[in-house]
Subunit: 330 residues, 4 copies
């Protein structure tokens, strides 16, 4: 019973229809919560539908509370050995980042009921529920992994950026302070201008007007275009590399699986699971599989209409039995 | 007769002079339509030349209608087996994306004639005719393929972006609501600010003025520069990879074709067709061909003036006959 | 005599000291002309120093005219066979892009003297003299080559961008026309807004104010961040690839030159010339050379202080004679 | 004694606890100085806490002066042979870029005490102290190396950019001068507009209003999106390549070290030092090490909880002794 609940709540890893339904219900509820927070903030909407929003909030928090309690209760069923012990394991689970997000998302409701705190502030905090969706997005893991891997380089680029912003703000402060004593009243004021300029947002609320200020701003603008884009470029190329590694991992499984020339039901399941885990598109998976077959000197085609892999009979294997086995995979 | 019309209308795949003329006429007509829609919207231009625009519209719709009917009629000549059956095949063709665009482009005219609907709205809709040009652009396919391949990653990046926009809007709403009750009247108002800031457009119509609002905006601005550029970076590197694959495909054909050391008229035609299909530039194709020759230990040069490949006589092949055969290819 | 003048004027390819001086004088004169055009446009500067600018203009045009005539006269000495014939060759040379720029740069002066045309307009045209500097920048060729190679893809991306700008302008025109009849008076007015938004410039002079207009603008803004960056990403990765090819070309020469284990004066000259032609930095060249030596199982080091390549004596070559030969290269 | 002080001050290279503390104290002091400069510029803050800022300044300068003198005194202990001679070596050290920054950072204080110069200007100059932090950031070296390597290409791109800005400014000046005689009073005024537009900052303080001016601005905007992003793209891909080289260097050391299948204390230390020097993350280092072990046909795993490398017993090495040795590395 506890194991079953654990599997039902364990996002993305079970293939059972009921688990899928649980996933979809929770994703919809979270998305509706985000939409509700945004609309609730409009006075004219809240004036008309206020009670509905309040009831929806109570309903959502009830579901999330039950879900949270079930997760904590069933955590000991996890394959992770750290969560095995009944008390210590559950406390460890409750302190894991995902579980903390789950708690933060329901806590404000209970706190405001208990202490009658400012509701407006707490309502907006509910938007953090959006982060719960990360649990269901496989590709997000890739994004976070790249961020972690390229961490030291990105920190260095950010540090250079912050230093440049500080220096740019100080120089422009010295140049513009006399001409615009209000907009450039101090370096922190100039920092606002520097950030808006170096990110190329350029609101235009603060603009240098002296000759020296404009020359500084021009140099800063041209340099910043290159510097600000650096972290993005590094992230993108790190991402690209991570994507390649994912494909190589799928290729290796394809090669293993095709060693005997046949993909049986079990191997098909393995491929499907790895594809989901890596977040590969149907198109990519089919292309890798096709390449794998080609290496084995079979001829394959991707059907123009259904996008499935068609295994043509090769001279060595006149029955071409692979086609039928593959057709259910595509 | 029906087959001939099919081939004439089948963009980019036939080499007949008449088919080329049909292509050019249709491309010109579509481009003129886009220009007409833009100029027609200017009241002073429409006041003077109104009837001309109306006649041009009737003329264009007539041509497009005839073209559409001929396409539907000749669809059964397509190599695609799904369109072979006289009735079902034609209905399937009419539901294909390209045929639907062709229909949407002429339908508004007939609807407005029948029901007397608002002409202004419908006139602007004619701008969708521009999308018909995609039929004639080979490189566009590459663009769409990359978008499809990198789909899951780009969706993940977009999802993170939307979440960040929502959270940024909520935080800045809380910080600025009291100071600017009009510009930050609700979270949807703050969403407009967040989008304008995170895409670095920065109109300046809504600008945070409190200290906390500016600190939030600065952090958001710096983060967004990296996050917003991610999808672009992924697309660009996916593109780059797809371009490499195209070149490799051309290289393989060059290798096959050069196996006997001679490019005959038929192989020349094959190379030319693949080059057009892949959208390779003359320069790239010549470079790949040159490299292919070099692998066969022939000496080749690219002529400085005409850019054509010159095959120098190699020690093993004193006649150097390849030169003349190649000169018509360059 | 004619050959000597040809070599003196032939930018970047001769190593003679006098040719270098001619290069530097011409580059300085062009740069001073650009600065003069910019300062001349300031009324208060022109009021004070007007005659000086006029004399400088007459002086510059004289030099450029003499240079142009000498170039045309000596063009027949070029290695290019198309310019060999005394009359036809010179006319062909005069129609080459670089010679046309040289002519356009001096022509306005003579035209304004003859016909008394508007001087202000013509003065600004002199800024085109800046383009004459391209003759002296080796890296520029790489930039232009990449632009040519990636041409079809960049055109496709630009075409998609133009189509998106048109469609975005039309939709926002429909949404905003009623609310802002002046700023969105017609689609061409909306086109201005669309370009300013999609390039993320965001002046803020035209901003959508209706709900639908803002939703359109948000979607357009988010899409455009990805689409607008595509051509830049393609250019950058094309550039990167071209840089790699350059390095490979230098590597090949290094391998050839090192086959006998010794770099003599002639080979040193060859390496130096290719390095200049390819625009490789000293650092890169030294790194490639070092790698070349390592392949030959010699041990080399880059000196920490002077950055030169030090060839350590290898077990097979106990005299280590390479060091002295290399030391003059570093 | 002198050697000990040299090692204590030599940032990042010593592993002694005391040297670490010296590093942390200096980094904190520099960071506090940057914060102090920014807050000091706020009149209301300086009015209240002025004396505190003055005392902090005197304290900081004292520390920095002592540090500078100790560095100069102990410079002869450096491994660099150029600094060995007692007098000449110390003068050479004082002229090295890092030592000059150290001097510039303390000099203003003494100059203003001596000559009573304008304090405001000098106070802001103290922000340059931030650059002293570069001494402690390993990843910064990578950034600077890439900038140096890609120098000629980036100069070419910058030169094209400057030429484009000049030409764009001149054309728009001609188009807008009559309509906006104040904002486009001269080409230098137009240059300000061109820089703000081409970097996509778009303040909106100067906006073209004539038809021709807007057409020019649109073309310039679309071109600039591609051109301005070029240097950033080149930098990012150069960076990416440099990162790969770093990883390859670590891989080589791992291969060397694993030749005997065992990582002893000395080799562990070597790996750790190279990892620090290259600025590799713990995650990357572990991944490379794991791959190295795999090549040797040992089976390894990364522990899910502690992130450490677990060396599984291989069939050839039944004792699996590597595990314990590795566990202290992870």
């Amino acid at each position: 019973m506890r194991e079953r609940i654990f599997l039902l709540l364990d996002a993305g890893h079970s293939e059972e229809p009921l688990a899928r339904i649980v996933d979809i219900v929770l994703i919809s509820l979270i998305s509706l919560n985000v939409v509700a927070v945004i609309f609730e903030s409009m006075p004219e909407v809240y004036a008309h539908y206020g009670p509905w929003f309040d009831w929806f909030e109570i309903f959502s928090v009830s579901i999330f509370t039950v879900e949270y309690l079930l997760r904590v209760w069933s955590a000991v069923e996890s394959r992770n050995p750290r969560y095995k012990s009944p008390v210590k394991g559950r406390i460890r689970f409750m302190l894991s980042p995902l579980a903390l997000i789950d708690l933060i998302v329901i806590l404000p409701f209970y706190l405001s009921s208990l202490f009658g705190a400012d509701l407006r502030m707490l309502r907006a905090l509910r938007l953090l529920r959006a982060f719960r969706l990360t649990r269901y997005a496989n590709s997000m893991n890739l994004l976070l992994q790249v961020l972690r891997d390229e961490g030291p380089i990105i920190s260095a680029a950010l540090f250079v950026l912050l230093m440049m912003i500080s220096v740019a703000a100080s120089i422009t402060y010295l140049a513009e302070h006399a001409a615009q004593p209000e907009a450039f009243a101090s370096i922190p004021h100039a920092l606002w201008w520097a950030v808006v300029t170096m990110t190329t947002i350029g609101y235009g609320d603060v603009v240098p007007q002296t000759l020296i200020g404009r020359i500084c701003a021009s140099v800063i603008g041209i340099i910043s275009v290159g510097m600000v884009a650096l972290p993005a470029g590094i992230l993108a190329s790190g991402f690209n590399e991570a994507l390649h590694q994912r494909r190589r991992r799928y290729e290796q499984l394809v090669d293993n699986v095709l060693e005997d020339g046949v993909i049986d039901a079990d191997e098909h399941h393995q491929l499907h699971q790895l594809q989901e885990e890596l977040g590969l598109s149907q198109h990519e998976a089919a292309a890798i599989l096709k390449a794998g077959y080609r290496k084995m000197s079979h001829l394959t085609e991707i059907c123009d209409q259904c996008g499935k892999v068609i295994l043509l009979p090769s001279p060595d294997d006149p029955e071409g039995g692979g086609t039928t086995r593959l057709s259910k995979f595509g």
